[in-house]
Symmetry: C2
């Protein structure tokens, strides 16, 4: 199938771009760096959203909505934050268009210039902490546990669908706490929520860790993250959770009266995942035949394709299909019966295979004479002939199997591409092969920077479960207590 | 309760503004004209969203996502459309901030001026039809039935929370069809979906109608709408559904090969409702004691408040409460047990009354000795003493009753404020009293414009169920075939 489709080994990057478009997930729009998320892609994102939203609510968070625009002066209040985002801001300067007096068309109306420019939010810490100041007076008002589903804009120069776009969709949690301990516990809790989501629903193994100072969020004291490995061995940061200390409370003067009746600055966290997860999902599981989706997130989990010649045969197949559909629907399995006569079975096979539908059932009139049906699993592309009475149980077990198998496959691939490296010479060779290099590092930003300059590799994270071990920094030879993850990344 | 809370008769407008803030629904942000939707308000909006989303999917629509930004030139392509929106556009002109060489702080970086300005979408017809051009080749690609949940920006000069804000949240459906008939049928179908949602879930009666030319959407051939009446007698446009003809297809050159093998322009619709519905909901049902919510959309449908003195009493109440909670939850009724000891029962009564929780159960240790509990319904503020074994059945029947009663109350109020008016003198007097005036009109935009200038009243719609009747225009005396709805509006 898809004979003109480039393979991963030929050109991984092109394979990804083509897959996104041809599987109807997204496409580039006429607006530089902005994508259109097509219905099939959006349906996957919706499934992610719904699942995450439930996990957030289960951990006590509520949704709210804050303005799209941030006054320029708000950005200037937190020094590191503005440093991090000023270079990629969409700036609104006018609130009206007017006829061009010197020519055709419209121009920003000079009489409608804003007194203060507005920034399209690249992230919402500033506007939210400006709001929290009004909400927080006493320890009784804490904690505040808000999340927002929103679009944000970061004017990236080089963009790629889902992975890096000028506008993207995300959620950003912003919480306020009375103590440093509570805020840090929240930060870590949300990293685990993300990790569990990635592993359980996306079938994507991740390393839970802490970022080095160089890779920390602009304005954070500590950034926790989950890091995944794509099939080409490159790392992808899949979610981050920041302990912000009192930085934003100080910038926006947010204080509370403690139980001890003292005025203190509030402690903050923020955490987010975005449509980037779509890119991670695609690159973790898909293959040279197209998209592969873990059953939990597949908009269509099972598709039925009928093959018949006569109306009588079709009627018999319909009856079986109706039965299967109603039984599976009652079990909350999403199923599609494609009996569209405008396309042939062969075309349908290709289509659903390319779109990553986990299970396909072929109801063929000939097979059915012997009570047989063919069932196909997308992850391994294996077909099996089963008795028609087994359809339901087989669908259920296959969906579980596929979910588990995809995780295991990704886990094994990651394991095969993760290795300890102890010398600088070896590092320079190994990094070219991709994967995660577990290395000792002297803990300084300078060393990380130099390694990045020489090899384009960065520290993806310091794993939380790293065991203590005496070693020497691969670059400077200085002493180190644990290995960190080096990789090139998306 | 809420003794310092202004009443509707004292000052309806102030009552509304205060209610929105004090019921924790929303507040003004530091960004001009933009609001913060607080968790309690957002929870109501989420319930609206989920319900509408289901209704859209049931009618065959899929969600997608299109860019926030629209190139200026796209707006210029549809003449009426740009005319309608150019005056209230947020215009992005730069993509970077830089240090101010002549002073402190940051300025839009002159070297990062955009070649073409981008408009923050006030609505997405243009960017979507630019995209549909790539999706549509043949009649086989039609219809396209997409919806998008998004934020939009219209730079309104006078803003009010939920009713008119610079940024608001909404959904916008955009469909593409092979024939005019099919597109018009879709337009009407979605108006009915909105009307059913308003009446069944919001308990808000609406008139289904067509807009006059003056009130039509910029770029539409015909605008269908649902119009509601608020308690002060003013009209509120609650949703619109536009038949766009081939206007956008022509502006963006979207053609398809018909079954007859001819190249034809595609037919379009668009339809939307927004967070404005929150304003409509609040103003339709709430009273001088605060918010009143229809059970379908209430984040908390039932609240339990315990009253006790001893730990033993509390334990007994807990047992009963646990039972009620698990039974109601199993019936999908959202329930809160407020046994927080930091606040007193009286405070809780006020709080939940003000926040419009439909049903309150008081579990008092004293009453329970006689197996009695008090149950309170928010719509009428009536209390009733019932046997504790009746709690579940009473909750269920009350939720249904309240939903029905709220609709009936709103319906009766609207009926009492709707009347036929046949002379211009009477019109001028009656319009001061508010409500809907059913009048004959000569069908010209000029007459409507004059009536608006003299009385601030506009034609809210030409009702679809208006019976034919010979009459004379109240303003010009020219012949008319049916009455239309005149009112002042939000």
């Amino acid at each position: 199938m898809a004979k003109d489709f480039v393979t991963r080994s030929e050109n991984y990057s092109e394979w990804y771009n083509e897959l996104v478009v041809r599987a109807d997930l997204a496409e580039n729009s006429s607006v530089r760096g902005c994508m259109v998320i097509k219905p099939y892609g959006y349906a996957i994102w919706e499934k992610m959203q719904h699942t995450l939203d439930k996990l957030f609510k289960k951990t006590g968070h509520q949704n709210a909505y804050f303005p799209l625009f941030i006054p320029k002066s708000f950005f200037e209040k937190e020094a590191e934050h503005v440093e991090g985002f000023a270079k990629e801001c969409a700036v609104v300067t006018h609130h009206r268009l007017a006829k061009n007096p010197n020519g055709n068309g419209l121009i920003p109306d000079p009489s409608a210039k804003l007194e203060e420019e507005l920034i399209v939010r690249p992230t919402s810490e500033t506007i939210i902490w400006d709001t929290y100041r009004k909400w927080i007076k006493s320890y009784r008002d804490l904690p505040i546990l808000c999340n927002q589903w929103a679009n944000v804009v970061r004017w990236e120069m080089r963009t790629r669908m889902f992975l890096r776009t000028a506008e993207f969709l995300w959620q950003e949690g912003h919480t306020a706490h009375a103590t440093s301990e509570e805020a840090e516990a929240e930060t870590i809790k949300m990293m685990h929520v993300y990790a569990d989501f990635a592993e359980k629903y996306m079938a994507m193994p991740v390393i839970r860790g802490v970022k080095s100072a160089n890779e920390r969020f602009a304005g954070a004291v500590e950034t926790y993250c989950i890091e995944a490995m794509m099939q080409d061995g490159k790392a992808l940061q899949a979610g981050t959770s920041h302990f912000l200390g009192q930085n934003f409370a100080k910038a926006f003067d947010v204080k509370f009266l403690s139980k001890e009746n003292k005025l203190e600055y509030v402690w903050a966290t923020s955490w987010g995942v975005s449509t980037r997860l779509m890119g991670a999902l695609i690159m973790t599981h898909s293959d040279d035949n197209g998209l592969v989706l873990p059953p939990y997130l597949a908009p269509i989990q099972v598709v039925i394709v009928p093959i018949y010649k006569t109306a009588e045969e079709k009627a018999q197949i319909d009856e079986i299909a109706d039965n299967v559909i109603s039984t599976l629907k009652a079990k909350d399995i999403s199923i599609k019966y494609d009996d569209d006569e405008k396309t042939k079975p062969g075309w349908k096979f290709n289509e659903y295979e390319f779109k990553g539908v986990p299970v396909r059932i072929t109801l063929g009139a000939r097979d059915l004479k012997e009570d047989k049906v063919e069932i196909f699993r997308r992850d391994t592309c294996e077909k099996e002939i089963i008795h028609k009475d087994e359809i339901i149980s087989k669908c259920e077990s296959l969906l579980t199997d596929i979910q588990d198998n995809l995780f295991k496959k990704a886990y094994d691939l990651r394991a095969s591409k993760t290795r300890n490296v102890d010398t600088w010479e070896e590092f320079k060779q190994e990094i070219e092969k991709g994967g995660f290099l577990m290395c000792h590092w002297d803990g300084t930003p300078e060393t990380e920077e130099k390694i990045k300059e020489e090899t384009k590799a960065t520290i993806r994270c310091i794993p939380l479960d790293a065991s203590e071990e005496d070693g020497k920094c691969i670059y400077t030879g200085k002493p180190s207590k644990r290995r960190v993850v080096f990789a090139r990344n998306y």
